[in-house]
């Protein structure tokens, strides 16, 4: 029951946290050089009367704090404003792109967590053995590679030269598949971007799991588990791993904002129609409302993700008390 109370309380925290985030984002964007009116009017210029009218329409003639107050109220009511480029509501643009990003991130996250933890356990089983050395080399390489470079190399090797996978997009638009064929086509398109992101994230999770396992394996309760007659496999996976996962979950949770940055790069390289691409395009076209909407959405996402991490942590470790 205490878990439910904890979750409800944490959900309530989202409101003040979001207000803080919106305030910071608002001032940051306002501190950036340039005036939105200039972008609307363009190079040609307009007389001062038109400029003044536009400023009044957009509320830019009001004091900054009044503007902030209005913006916060607007955001809290679920309205993130309208894109300067397409005039569509920002929230609609974001929600339209979100499933594509969620699919990509969830797939690569699940895959890199499972593979990273398994390889980490394998490396920790015999420290400094050839297997461990090879895995260490691999993990160091994998998280030292820049995503955009790795993505381009994957495209070059597996897309262009070997021609095994499509090199961009999310589906084959020309064929217009539906049903199972669509799902298969989507999976085919996902291989390269998911592989790229997985390779990048795998290394860190593997290193963390290895270090954490090595620490746990030295604990008395692991020796006790062996003394009870359990096999190495049972001891490592059932008795040691759950303890070793605690620091891994923490760090992996803290990595979530970085994940979104990674998504921007990967989505750009693979022309994946997700939030990363949307952000990248918004930056290029100076679409401030869209950009602010994106930042706020990402803040919201990070807050919710951290809540999830806290819940998982509590499920793994009974010593954590929700109060």
């Amino acid at each position: 029951m205490s878990l439910l109370v904890f979750v409800i309380r944490r959900l309530l925290y989202i409101v003040p946290l979001l207000v803080c985030a919106v305030t910071v984002i608002f001032f940051l964007v306002h501190a950036a050089p340039g005036d939105p009116v200039d972008y609307i009017i363009g190079e040609a210029g307009a007389d001062s009367e038109v400029v003044a009218r536009l400023r009044a329409e957009m509320g830019l003639d009001q004091p900054l704090l009044v503007q902030l107050w209005r913006y916060v109220l607007q955001v809290l009511s679920g309205n993130l404003g309208y894109s300067l480029v397409s005039s569509a509501p920002v929230l609609d643009l974001i929600l339209e792109r979100f499933p594509a990003t969620l699919l990509l991130m969830a797939s690569q996250y699940t895959l890199s967590a499972i593979l990273g933890v398994l390889l980490g356990v394998l490396a920790a089983r015999r420290p400094n053995s050839p297997v461990d050395t090879a895995l260490t080399f691999l993990s160091l390489t994998s998280f030292s590679l820049p995503i955009f470079w790795l993505g381009q190399m994957m495209i070059l090797a597996f897309g262009y030269h070997l021609n095994w996978f499509p090199i961009q997009g999310m589906s084959n638009l020309r064929e217009g598949y539906t049903g199972w064929r669509y799902a298969l086509d989507l999976a085919h398109h996902m291989v390269l971007p998911v592989a790229t992101l997985t390779i990048f994230n795998l290394g860190l999770i593997m290193r963390l799991t290895r270090a954490s396992m090595l620490q746990v394996v030295g604990q008395d309760y692991v020796k006790v588990a062996y003394a009870k007659g359990h096999s190495e496999r049972t001891v490592l996976l059932r008795h040691a791993l759950r303890n070793a996962l605690l620091p891994v979950v923490t760090v992996v949770g803290l990595e979530i904002p970085g994940l979104i940055a990674g998504a921007v790069l990967a989505e750009t390289v693979f022309a994946w129609p997700g939030l990363g691409r949307l952000t990248f395009d918004a930056i290029n076209s100076r679409d401030y409302p869209l950009l602010m909407g994106m930042f706020i959405f990402i803040s919201f996402f990070v807050i919710v993700a951290n809540l999830l991490v806290d819940i998982i942590y509590g499920l793994l470790d009974p010593r954590i008390r929700y109060q």
Binding site: Y221, K223, V224, A227, K228, G229, D317, P318, R319
Partner: protein, 325 residues
């Protein structure tokens, strides 16, 4: 002596380290009879823990049993396969460790941790194993055992955790329980309770106990026989009363003197006698007796020839040239 449950014959366990090969156990011979409690005493680094871990084959990968036999239930555990050892551990030989605070897995429920040996070795269902675990927890004196099954280790005190460890060790009715400093980490009143419990259970369950400790008080209250270890060898073995009445090895005598006594007179300088010097480096042992550098009675023969363990009276053996017949 009653029929032997386990016979350790000429056990040698060595460790590879950066300073060379450390000979932690150098030819230990020890028998434990059915229902007998044998105490193994010695200071840190004397090899008593390594001896115990060798029996369980739980020495770290840098260590190896290089020689000797561990005869138990018709098999030589020194040569047993990993699979054979897994069948012995927790079922035929159980172990209780020094640190009750860290010996229980913090993320698993207490009931689960006692029950899992029963599921592993007895093939009980989860339900049956938990019922049995509840009875065991009650047997070792844990109040409200049904409720405790669902507790996590951090909700228990140190003494209660050691009781849980004892319940786990008893679960499969082992032939032998190895207790490695079971009371060292507990405060004195809890220590006494745990020792009482061990004595009661030994009587009721009829298992043999190898009790490892550096505390002579614990030995005198609990053990039937004592083996004193020094630098990887047993230097003296005797019935508990005989050893306390008539210690023979200079090391044993030194150990007994260094225990403060309430009824004895204090020495002039009001300081406790100590055994001077330090334990020799087990990677570079001198020729002759290992105790020569610290022995008050050292003479020529000790520096050239290594003494052997031999019986002075029946059941009282010592490894010292002073008692050479």
């Amino acid at each position: 002596m009653p029929e032997e449950v386990i016979s350790i014959r000429n056990l040698h366990t060595h460790f590879r380290t950066e300073d060379g090969v450390v000979k932690s156990v150098r030819g230990v011979d020890l028998d434990i009879g059915r229902g007998e409690v044998v105490g193994l005493v010695g200071e840190s680094g004397s090899g008593k823990s390594v001896t115990a871990h060798s029996v369980m084959r739980l020495i770290p990968p840098s260590g190896r049993i290089v020689e000797g036999q561990i005869l138990f239930e018709g098999a030589d555990l020194a040569q047993a396969s990993v699979r054979q050892m897994q069948k012995v551990r927790g079922d035929r030989i159980a172990m209780i460790f020094q640190e009750p605070m860290t010996s229980l897995n913090p993320v698993l429920r207490v009931g689960e941790q006692v029950a899992d040996v029963l599921r592993l070795h007895r093939g009980l269902s989860k339900r049956e194993a938990l019922d049995e675990a509840r009875d065991l927890l009650g047997r070792v004196g844990i109040p409200d055992p049904q409720a405790r099954l669902a507790s996590f280790p951090h909700e228990l005190s140190g003494g209660q955790r050691q009781r849980v460890m004892i319940a786990t060790a008893l679960a499969c009715r082992p032939q032998l329980i190895i207790a490695d400093e079971p009371t060292t980490a507990l405060d004195v009143t809890i220590q006494a309770q745990i020792l009482d419990l061990l004595r009661d259970l030994k009587r009721d369950f009829g298992c043999s106990v190898l009790l490892i400790t550096h505390d002579l008080g614990v030995i005198s209250e609990t053990a039937d026989r004592v083996a004193v270890m020094y630098a990887g060898q047993i230097v003296e073995v005797a019935e508990v009363a005989a050893l306390f009445d008539e210690p023979m090895h200079p090391y044993t005598i030194g150990l007994m003197r260094s225990v403060p006594r309430l009824d004895g007179d204090l020495p002039e300088d009001r300081l406790l006698p100590v055994i001077g010097g330090v334990v020799p480096n087990l990677a570079e042992l001198p020729a002759g007796c290992a105790f020569q550098t610290r022995c008050p009675h050292v003479h020529e023969r000790c520096r050239s020839q290594e003494p052997l363990l031999h019986a002075v009276h029946s059941g009282h053996q010592v490894r010292c040239w002073l008692h050479d017949a």
